[in-house]
């Protein structure tokens, strides 16, 4: 009879697949996460060491110097100070990236925020108590950043205009506008070089007692934590994510897509402005013409590595801050140009992406090797077997 497999149908169903996460999952996850963050760093540092050896330099010297100048003594405090604007920048980028919106106008948004802080700062501090002045300056900087996103936001929300182009264009324009402001209304007439007035030393953000880390660091950390909560646990965060993953679905489920686009742009710009305020009031105190720290470029790869998860961004940024603070002197000590650090950062990015990727495959229950690679490895064997 045809139904040959009838008896097999009666046999018990295939064993249930193992549940995606077992009971001990949590602990395992922690270990895995730890391993996954550590391994790429170690690999990158090893690769960097090989490179140093090739260049005839001592890796031991180099890395111990990075540690020495980036962490030891008071140097970790310098690293922490560098983290403050980077963290806020990361927060600003995560807000839009989660919605799959590309705000690449961060340079202008930052500089405009910075310029307005130093532009109005001295006057504010002269006329208002410090807390009021801080609050107002933070808001001014935030607004400066936010306002600079409005045109791309409206174009994207109403006409779907590609925001990669518009934000970049606005960035080029905004950088020039910031320069014009520095050389024009906000220039310090008493100094020969084009730079703004300086915020009085005493009016800078106070330090965390016992350190020379300004409280802006704590502000940045706080904002990042709150934002992480907002993005992962609230309806706002989920709407953002739905839109980011599938804009058509967002429209279908009744999310007000225009409002979402505009508000995430504005929030992003605002946070970038705030990062400028924190950085200027905590560290720089003035802006000179043509200055552009371009924190966004620094932070973008880490934001992606952290898979747009702000908690995960924190250690990445900390790591980068240490490397960057310690690296300048460390490269000098082995008589290499500081640009060598770029190579190290690139290596770290590479290895982190690779390990992230392997981890994700693992999670999906796949082989560590991709299909393409496996085939590439298998192909020669296959050919041989096939040949007559």
């Amino acid at each position: 009879m045809a139904i040959a497999a009838e008896d097999r149908a009666a046999a018990p169903a295939p064993p249930a697949p193992p549940p995606a996460r077992t009971a001990t999952g949590r602990g395992q996850m922690v270990v895995l996460t730890f391993v996954r963050s550590l391994v790429p760093v170690v690999l990158a540092l090893l690769a960097g060491a090989v490179l140093l050896l090739v260049l005839g330099r001592s890796p031991v010297r180099f890395y111990s110097d990075v540690w020495r100048y980036g962490v030891e003594l008071n140097n970790w405090q310098n690293s922490a100070v560098l983290m403050a604007p980077l963290l806020l920048m990361a927060a600003a980028l995560v807000v839009v990236f989660r919605a799959n919106i590309w705000n690449l106008g961060y340079d202008a948004q930052y500089l405009l925020g910075a310029v307005f802080v130093v532009g109005y700062g001295p006057w504010m501090f002269a006329h208002f108590p410090r807390p009021v002045a801080y609050a107002v300056l933070f808001v001014i900087a935030g607004l400066a950043g936010a306002i600079w996103t409005i045109v791309p936001a409206l174009l994207r929300a109403y006409f779907g205009t590609n925001e990669i182009i518009t934000t970049l264009m606005m960035s080029f324009i905004g950088i020039d506008v910031a320069n014009i402001l520095v050389k024009g209304p906000f220039q310090d007439p008493t100094v020969t070089i084009p730079q703004t007035k300086t915020i009085p030393y005493n009016d800078m953000l106070p330090n965390i007692p016992g350190t020379h880390i300004h409280v802006g660091f704590l502000v940045a950390l706080g904002i990042v934590l709150v934002l992480h909560y907002l993005l992962t646990r609230t309806s706002f965060g989920l709407r953002l994510q739905v839109f980011g993953e599938n804009p058509k679905a967002a429209r279908h489920v009744g999310i007000n897509v225009r409002r979402l686009i505009i508000s995430s742009f504005l929030w992003s710009g605002f946070l970038i402005g705030v990062s400028a305020a924190v950085d200027i009031l905590g560290l720089w105190s003035y802006v000179r013409s043509n200055w552009n720290p371009s924190y966004g470029n620094t932070v973008i790869p880490f934001v992606f590595l952290a898979r747009l998860n702000l908690l995960a961004v924190i250690p990445f940024v900390a790591f980068y801050a240490v490397l960057s603070t310690g690296g300048d002197l460390a490269t000098q000590a082995v008589s290499l140009p500081t640009d060598f650090l770029l190579v190290i950062v690139a290596l770290i990015l590479l290895f982190m992406t690779i390990i992230e990727f392997l981890g994700r495959r693992r999670e999906l229950g796949q082989s560590y090797l991709t299909k393409g690679l496996r085939e590439a490895l298998r192909q020669p064997l296959v050919r041989r077997r096939r040949s007559p």
Binding site: L55, V151, L155, Y158, F159, G160, T161, N162, I164, I165, T166, L168, M169, M170, F172, I173, D176, V177, N179, I180, K183, N297, I300, P301, F304, L305, L336, P337, D339, F340, L341, L342, V343, I344, V345, A346, L347, L349, L350, M352, T353, I354, F357, T370, K371, G372, L373
Partner: protein, 318 residues
């Protein structure tokens, strides 16, 4: 004001206008090479953020080749090779393994910046050797057109190659199997795969071509435009090329037009200054960007991006 006009009146001689246009063409060529390259990979679904790094590597290897071999052509060849090698990294990691194109692209840019700077110092110990000027080739007949003749048709040979390349790529996109496959890889890779063409190979070749073209663009900068290599000499032109490719919606002829507009606007900003007009360079500088922004606001056109851009292709994934 009268002084300005007086200064300007003596300025715009025929030879000066010729030089301005020629300068604009020269400035636009590296952008054009690179942006045409980006158009290729974008069409195939690979967003190549590493362009800046590939250009720098090309600039360095191109300079080295031209310098050592005393030949501009060797320079372009080594430049293309250098850019291609940098792109090969992208091929292996992003196209083949499917790693995040943006992170890898940024890593390539960083590595390109760092390595060329380190090597430049190691190789030349801080000296900045320079290359001789290379001959220009006039196209007989055309070069006798007043002003335009000398500015457009008396250029280094590689400029004509660049223009030829634009035409060739445009032809390739519309008339050849490769063009069709590239577009398919960016539009709907699973469809290309189902049609029996390897998406990964298509994207790999596209990325390699992009790297080689960015390398030529970089080599052009060091070999022709500057005659020397200085670290970070691309000055963000790689990113500019991405914008141009997007603005041009990946169409080579428009890429060329956009690059040319940028080059000419650079030239014009110099000309404006030479008239003695007292406008800050910041204002002059932002004019082209402001113009693009204005155009985008008025026409509100969305630059079309292939739907599968920057999405790694994994066969059979859901």
């Amino acid at each position: 004001m009268t002084a300005v006009l007086a200064a300007a009146s003596g300025l715009f001689t025929q030879s000066f206008v010729t030089a301005l246009i020629a300068g604009g063409v020269l400035a636009s060529i590296p952008l054009m090479f690179t942006a045409v390259g980006e158009a290729i990979s974008e069409r195939s679904g690979v967003l190549n953020i590493g362009l800046e790094g590939m250009m720098l590597v090309g600039a360095y290897t191109g300079f080295l080749g031209a310098y050592e071999a005393h030949s501009m052509w060797v320079g372009f060849l080594t430049g293309a090779l250098g850019g291609g090698v940098a792109a090969a990294l992208m091929v292996v990691l992003s196209v083949r393994m499917g790693l995040d194109q943006i992170v890898i692209g940024i890593a390539i840019t960083l590595a390109g910046e760092g390595i060329t700077s380190v090597l430049q110092q190691a190789q030349f110990g801080g000296a900045y050797p320079r290359l001789p000027a290379y001959p220009q080739v006039a196209i007989p007949g055309l070069d006798s057109i007043p002003i335009l003749g000398k500015s457009l048709f008396d250029q280094p040979l590689v400029v004509y190659f660049g223009l030829g390349l634009v035409a060739a790529v445009a032809w390739m996109f519309s008339r050849t199997r490769w063009g069709l496959e590239l577009r398919a890889a960016g539009e709907k890779p699973e469809a290309l795969d189902a049609a029996g063409v390897s998406v990964l190979n298509t994207r790999s070749y596209a990325t390699l071509a992009t790297g080689a073209l960015a390398g030529v663009g970089g080599a052009y900068l060091s070999v022709i435009a500057a005659g020397t290599f200085t670290p970070f000499m691309t000055q963000g032109q790689g990113y500019m090329a991405i914008v141009i490719a997007m603005l041009a919606r990946g169409r080579p002829v428009w890429v060329a037009v956009a690059s040319f507009v940028f080059g000419i606007s650079l030239s014009l900003s110099t000309a404006l200054q030479l008239t003695g007009i007292n406008i800050s360079a910041d204002v002059i500088n932002m004019l082209p960007f402001a113009a693009i922004m204005l155009a985008l606001v008025i026409f509100a056109r969305s630059a079309y991006l292939p739907p599968a851009l920057a999405v790694p292709y994994v066969r059979g994934a859901r």
